[in-house]
Amino acid sequence: MTPDQAKAIFNLCLPGEEASLDVPGLAEALALAAAIPDLATWWEEEKNFEEQYSRKLASILPPPGLAATIMRGGATIFFASRLIAESTGEPLTELPPTGEDGPAKPSAVDVLAPVVEPKKPTALTWWWRAAVLSVALLVILLLALLIVMPASSSSTGPDDALLPDFTHYATQLATLPPPPQSGQSLADMQKYLADNRAPNPPDPLGLATNPSGAAAIYGGFETWNKHLVTHYIVQQGLGLMHLFVLNQTEFPHDDVSAQIYESTVDTYRVQTWCGGGFIYLAVKQSAGRP
């Protein structure tokens, strides 16, 4: 081995002895450096440079709050995944072990990731499946919106005094017989609600009646591992409109405010706001969608 060949090998050495073992020929190059002082000096200078540059890069600090944002986003995704798994009845696939597990203080992730095992899947109506899947999608969309788009506002959210309406509505729904479990259609659901004299869901934003001709036809109220999810399916012309209510205590998002944040995602118009400890997501189909 010549000194130039040894330098070429040293040139590949990672700063750090352990990692350097990956480089073939290193032992021979080191032996040569031990015998040639100039080569040894060059190698020392080289190592100093590598160490110094690595330290420079290591001094780059991530923005404050980045880790917390990532953990909060991860918790949101896990929550959505759990909803999907429950709605489809398929088992929830868990993250593989990374060898990096260990005791950790309770955090937003720990709080948000439910500890209680999920309910066993039951026979689910297509309404419920659609609603749950939509919630999962919307949670992800909400996260993306909060991260990517600047906040804007046009009006305030509903008065907190409306919240008892939700509770009252849920109580009324609980007194109804179970909805049809199979073969449902929009007409079937409407007949079921009419036959049972089901109440109209609360309509804090007037979403169900604006534009005219729309009507809230069904509402659900679900406590899911402490995650309160209220959902409506609203007939609006030929399409549907959804309104979701999430418990902000169990599902915190610091960026949501009392003012309505409105945006368009794909073919949907999404409004997000919070009030009285709840996050609201209202989703309408855009006018351009058939």
Binding site: K56, A58, I70, T98
Partner: protein, 166 residues
């Protein structure tokens, strides 16, 4: 998601988010974009981590995913880099290196051939071994050796030709 699972994710973020952010910063030289890339990488893991094939190491996967996302956002394919013999490089002026801060050190990567930036950044970040760098960038190990050697040659020539920032 069980408590164990959430702890797994939390530990993963705690252990790697800073290194991944630095890698992203070396690629894009922009705080906001680097943060977005880092976030997106972890969100992809939250979504797909449970379905990774057995034997896939998480750490190289995170770096590789971040790099792939960087390439995807940039919109151009990663060009092939020919294997070539290498020679020793000049040493940069010590006073120049000493005067650099972290972002300036990362900004120097922008002067490298694009295909060499990721291997050299990973080399200096010291979080991955050579086989892990090869795994992360989906490049044969021998090719990684060649890329790092060439990158260091280019890099030191670039640095040696510059003066200390005032």
């Amino acid at each position: 998601m069980s408590r164990t699972q959430s702890i797994t994710f939390k530990k993963l973020v705690e252990n790697h988010f800073a290194s991944l952010y630095r890698f992203a910063y070396c690629l894009v030289n922009d705080e906001q974009t680097a943060g977005d890339l880092t976030q997106h990488t972890f969100f992809l893991y939250a979504n797909k981590g449970a379905t990774l094939p057995p034997g896939v190491k998480v750490k190289p996967w995170l770096y590789g995913t971040l790099h792939s996302e960087f390439l995807r956002q940039r919109g151009a394919p990663d060009p092939e880099f020919p294997l070539a013999p290498t020679t020793a490089a000049p040493i940069a002026k010590p006073e120049f290196i000493a005067a650099l801060d972290g972002p300036s050190a990362a900004a120097a990567f922008a002067h490298l051939d694009e295909v060499l930036r990721a291997p050299l950044a990973l080399y200096y970040l010291r979080d991955l071994t050579y086989p892990e760098i090869a795994e992360a960038l989906a490049v044969p190990l021998e090719n990684i050796f060649a890329r790092v050697a060439e990158a260091k040659l280019q890099f030191k020539k670039i640095l040696a030709g510059r003066t200390a920032p005032s």
